[in-house]
Symmetry: D2
Subunit: 304 residues, 4 copies
């Protein structure tokens, strides 16, 4: 099936979207993005490519990178990982301290900020130069050597990252951050600053549609079982306080970022990346979610 | 594939399970169940049957029936339904009032007690004799005329159902229960008292593996889209505060009840019912969950 | 000191108060009160009387009556009472279920709704005809035989009292309501329906300024120690989520009701009742609080 | 009245207290205190002194110092202060982040950790050398030049102060900490490290029993109105989650610290300091509270 036309048709059916949502403003650098950008790219397991719009323009993938950090940490720690972070949806806004205090410093899952900080702490503890090691891992997964952090974005986030510092300190008080807090935060802000195009993002996540193997390199990044489990975690926890909404309407595991990007996985078939910077009140891309809903409806794609 | 042998092999691999968990005790009548019962039944779309153990013994399906009430209410109300109940995981124990108060009387999803009470209120408002109408609906879905409420269980639950009365009153104070509270509670307790065998339970839920059509009668119970959405809701909200754990380990949409039953759906393939009365602290059947985890691992079945 | 002139002067200094706050609307009957009513009455231990405005008009004392129920229950149960209700401020809005669930059905204090329901349950368990017994107790304390319940107000409150029914059911689920819920609620709604004038209210509470003895009858209603402790509870818990504000600005123990009344106690000196029906967002009389603040400032009265 | 004998008699009536409570352990340096120390000192407005036990031994006054920081900040900011911190009891354990998040970074009152951090931020913003300025203020209030910080205690607290760092960062994210976080924390840890004897502590707080005037120097430290209001805040918020218990049993405004000290004020009469290092689960000195309860009962002292 040729999705290019479908992409265009769906995009046009969205109608006038001028006034929908707002670009993320809590990080100064993100405010400068053109709100009307829209891109989508789908990569199939047998290397078919379909795209539309600004699909070759770099954007800040933000929280989507948390999935990649989780993949690396899960590889390193195996099931021991779950002693320090849960797999349950959080049921509260994405940076809430309430649940964390209630659960004695154990984040509900690895995709909320607190959980990603624990994952960051694990990676910081494993590697001499964790930032270097991690970006090389991302390049290997994606097969794209040009992927990198944006120090501009990372610095911007650091300058206002008090909530994340609060989370890290709270977890440290419970013993669930083990390395120096500033080092962990520095890694975390870099992690969230990675930039990709829709094409690159789709390609990077393709191994999760192929049960842990990168289809282009045939290299196994993670076991089949772990790959399925990461998809399950995305399904339940990938959209802050809207994971149910996304499952209900789109029916695929996925992850969003406040840069406006969304990655979704159709196991055994493809990965699809969408980007539109305007967010709803929950922090998810409005057009990105709507587009994927119409796409999976039109193609009858849904894991359910 | 013949699953009968696999069922036996998995059951034996569970080893000595004498001391695992406890039979539900909050309803007097449930305490009397033999804790060592174990049954499983799988029905495929093309009417293959596999079973093991006490699969033909009736047990109280309890909260599993909430899915059937949801199916009926969704049919009646369409997307308007979601004005009165959400689709997000709750993130808190299954009968918590906290979230409900915070969200002004709108339950997080239709499978927690509060949500099922709203669904009950909707059904009570639609039918002259809602209990009669509902059990006939269940008989039609299952094609089994002998399925019925247990008035013994319903009365037992009613005698201690103060938490549910608290939930109903709280929602009434927010205007989200519209009928007489006692009538709604009476319906709700009956709903939870339905008894089935594993074989019957598996057959009843088979239409959700066939995108809304009962495979034996070829009758459509609900649209394809609604069927997928109900599976998505089960995936995210079907196991109280362990939905993530179940998704992570079993990888299928499903629903548990404090009677020790679990139903799981493999879309386009089969439905499988397990029963073992001993529960963990979260209210889910310990052996039931473990059995399904080993089964989906052995058969590489997982929607992810 | 002659307070009559001071009362008038303070009242006039309040200026144009036309648009301040709103009459309680959650009970239908309370909505009909003239919002511009204002009365005050002060009674000293040696039977001096000072008043201003509508001080001889009956109004619904609402939650103020909870203090009298507490006095009676404390007399009956002694320190055993505190096994079922705490003495700590609640820190959350006056009818919240959150704290109650967290604390396993033990209300934070006897002056929030949940606590007053436990007190009601205790009184219901002690007397054959609790409503009759209680109103006779109030008449004895006040020395005024004409004080009575308003069945109109009680019925009105009952018709919308779902939050209180939720509280009672929740506590029953924890075993902290022991009698029939409907009987307890019926007593509670009657309790809150008592009507008094400012003059009567001031006289009724005078025994708490005299360490437990009714100054006019010389009869001891409660021990000195218990009298002080009830004043301490009023100081910390008497104004819903504004107890700190009232202590900070007025500096006397007191209790408010959503009918717009406030009683305040100056130990060893006097009791003062104010009434103005318009409430702030916390449910306390705006002019009543302001008047008392100006009064204690002008007279340098404050226990601190 | 000569209290010396009463002190001894009350102390002996406490009986065998060997196994009551535990010395604070969350700060390494506090663990080394001899748990069997006990001291008390009462100073009257007309300079009478009564004492018992280890009343001339220095101990860490910890949170008691927060009242002095509040006095200084209130002097500087007047009623503007209350835009950044409330006057309501917190209703939750003393270092909870929950309430703070709910209230958008505004602490419930100035005596919980979060509130004292805001007060610290205010003082840091006012003075070039805030630590020097503050200790000089304490020396002036007390008239004792030898009072000082313990850098040993401050360093110890800093090494484990992650919860306070979490609070400060969270409030910074809401804009309610305005200076550099590390500077504010450094001041806060110094503030809590001040050491006094019971005699010194009693003398230091005597001005709050004399409506803001130091009786020995006749110097006014704060207005009468502000002095009363600080007493009101102590009454409602001075004992973490046991303010009600203390008011109920002791009936005087006061403040405790995890070093085991308690100061209590009898307005217009005296201030009394008690010290016993073993704490209950709420963080208050067990023998200190018990001693004061028996003392105010024996002397019929209570503001209520």
């Amino acid at each position: 099936m040729n999705y290019n036309k479908l992409f265009e048709k769906i995009y046009q059916s969205l109608g006038n979207t001028e006034n929908l949502g707002q670009v993320a403003s809590y990080i100064p650098e993100l405010k400068n993005v053109n709100p009307h950008k829209f891109g989508v790219h789908l990569t199939t397991l047998n290397d078919k490519h379909y795209s539309f719009g600004d699909s070759d323009e770099k954007f800040s993938i933000q929280s989507i990178a948390k999935v990649l950090a989780l993949v690396l940490a899960y590889q390193l720690e195996d099931e021991k990982l779950w002693e320090r972070v849960g797999v349950e949806p959080s049921g509260t806004p994405f940076n809430s301290l309430v649940q964390l205090e209630y659960d004695k410093g154990i984040p509900r899952n690895p995709l909320i900020n607190a959980g990603a900080l624990v994952i960051s702490d694990i990676l910081v503890g494993h590697f001499e130069d964790p930032k270097k090691h991690f970006i090389e891992f991302v390049r290997k997964v994606s097969g794209i050597s040009g992927i990198d952090y944006s120090s501009r974005i990372a610095d911007s986030e650091k300058s206002t990252g008090y909530t994340n510092a609060a989370l890290a300190n709270l977890m440290k008080s419970f013993g669930n951050i083990r390395n120096d807090i500033d080092t962990v935060l520095d890694f975390y802000f870099s992690l969230c600053s990675i930039e990709m195009t829709c094409r690159e993002l789709s390609r990077t996540f393709l191994f999760l549609a192929d049960y842990g193997v990168c289809p282009y390199s045939k290299e196994r990044m993670i076991s089949t079982s772990k790959s399925k489990r990461i998809n399950a975690i995305m399904q339940l926890c990938g959209f802050y306080d809207e994971a149910g909404e996304f499952s209900f309407k789109v029916g695929l595991p996925g992850k969003s970022g406040v840069g406006g990007g969304i990655i979704a996985i159709h196991p055994n078939k493809y990965s699809i990346a969408v980007w539109s910077p305007r967010l709803n009140a929950k922090g998810n891309s409005i057009l990105g979610m709507k587009f994927l809903e119409l796409f999976t409806t039109a193609t009858k794609a849904s894991i359910f």
